[in-house]
């Protein structure tokens, strides 16, 4: 696993200006989503009007639960809006003619 928290990265101390900086917190959320069980690179976390909007598509309902748990842990105290959908698994209802 490529876990940046296990490779000597020094997290800002709680309460320091850097630790409270919303941009770095969003960056660290991205790090965790990629490094931990989800291996998730396709979800966006964007700062909008002081809140964080989480959007994207994940492979399963369980992945969405895990994602939302990690988001809650990383962004505690921030206003978070989520719109994360589970990938659809039905077959197509038509083909494209090329």
């Amino acid at each position: 696993m490529n876990d940046p928290t296990a490779q000597g990265r020094t997290a800002p101390q709680t309460g320091s200006p850097a630790a409270e900086n919303i941009e770095y917190r969003v960056a660290h959320l991205h790090d965790r989503l990629a490094a931990e069980e989800l291996g998730e690179l396709g979800v966006r976390a964007e700062i909008r009007a002081g809140a964080v909007a989480i959007t994207g598509t994940v492979p399963s309902g369980r992945c969405r639960e895990t994602l939302l748990r990690i988001v809650r842990e990383e962004l505690t105290g921030l206003t978070v809006h989520t719109d994360v959908v589970v990938a659809e698994t039905a077959g197509p209802d038509h083909a494209e003619e090329l």
């Binding site: 696993m1 291996g39 998730e40 396709g42 598509t57 492979p59 698994t89 083909a95 494209e96």
Partner: protein
């Protein structure tokens, strides 16, 4: 008429088993073959690869795949490919294969591809060794794709398809942040496709992108990342030459 089913970025894990199988079992009614455009797993572990293998084992149509960057994360891509091959998936990396579909020969050239960006906004083979190796990795992949397509040109194929994970064009990245385009694909792949010729290029990787695009040489490109097509797969009907 060749009916090509394709999907990428299915990102299967232990909780995914059986999610796509019901749709895949309808393939014989709607398609002649299934292309898998990489990122079949989340971390590229053998355990995840076995989930994918069971999902596509004994399907009623041939299955041809390339791996994606996620399938390399655990640094066992050969093992992932071997597990898929045990389930009769043809896994391509810089090579081609010919599939017989209803009496028609369909050639598929496959390579994972890599990043670097698009003309005017691309990484160059210059500077630090790591930077040069980054671009050379893409160039080697593109060269192998071109060679595979050219070889298929001499094997009496009615249709040739380029299958990659990374995108050959920026068109199908629309919706992704422009700043990350260099991590999503490379014009070198499109140049290879246009140089050798192909009837269709299929890729994945860009979850926020769009389905339709075209190379500078006029080859149609389709981004089949599952979050983009919002289906278990899409089907493209191609007229054989």
């Amino acid at each position: 008429m060749i009916r090509v089913a394709a999907v990428g970025d299915i990102h299967m894990g232990p909780d995914s088993q059986g999610l796509l199988r019901p749709a895949f079992e309808t393939l014989s009614e709607v398609a002649d073959l299934l292309l898998l455009a990489g990122d079949l797993t989340r971390h590229g572990t053998p355990q995840e690869a076995r989930v994918v293998a069971e999902e596509v084992r004994d399907l009623p149509v041939p299955v041809v795949a390339v791996l994606g960057n996620h399938d390399h994360h655990d640094e066992q891509p050969d093992k992932v490919a071997a597990i898929l091959r045990d389930a009769d998936v043809t896994v391509l990396e810089g090579e081609g294969t010919v599939v017989e579909c209803a009496g028609t020969r369909v050639g598929i050239a496959g390579a994972k591809g890599f990043g670097g960006g698009f003309v005017g906004r691309s990484a160059g083979e210059f500077g630090e060794p790591l930077m040069k190796e980054f671009v050379r990795t893409t160039r080697r992949s593109a060269d192998s794709l071109r060679t595979a397509l050219e070889e298929l040109g001499g094997r009496d194929c009615a249709v040739r398809i380029a299958l990659t994970h990374f995108s050959p064009v920026a068109d199908t990245l629309a919706g992704e942040p422009p700043e990350i385009y260099p991590f999503l694909g490379s014009y070198l792949l499109a140049e290879a496709i246009d140089t050798a010729g192909a009837d269709l290029a299929v890729h994945g990787h860009a979850h926020l992108g769009t389905e339709h695009g075209m190379t500078a040489g006029g080859v149609r490109v389709r981004n089949v990342a599952q979050p983009v097509i919002r289906r278990a797969f899409n089907v493209y009907r191609l007229n054989a030459a």
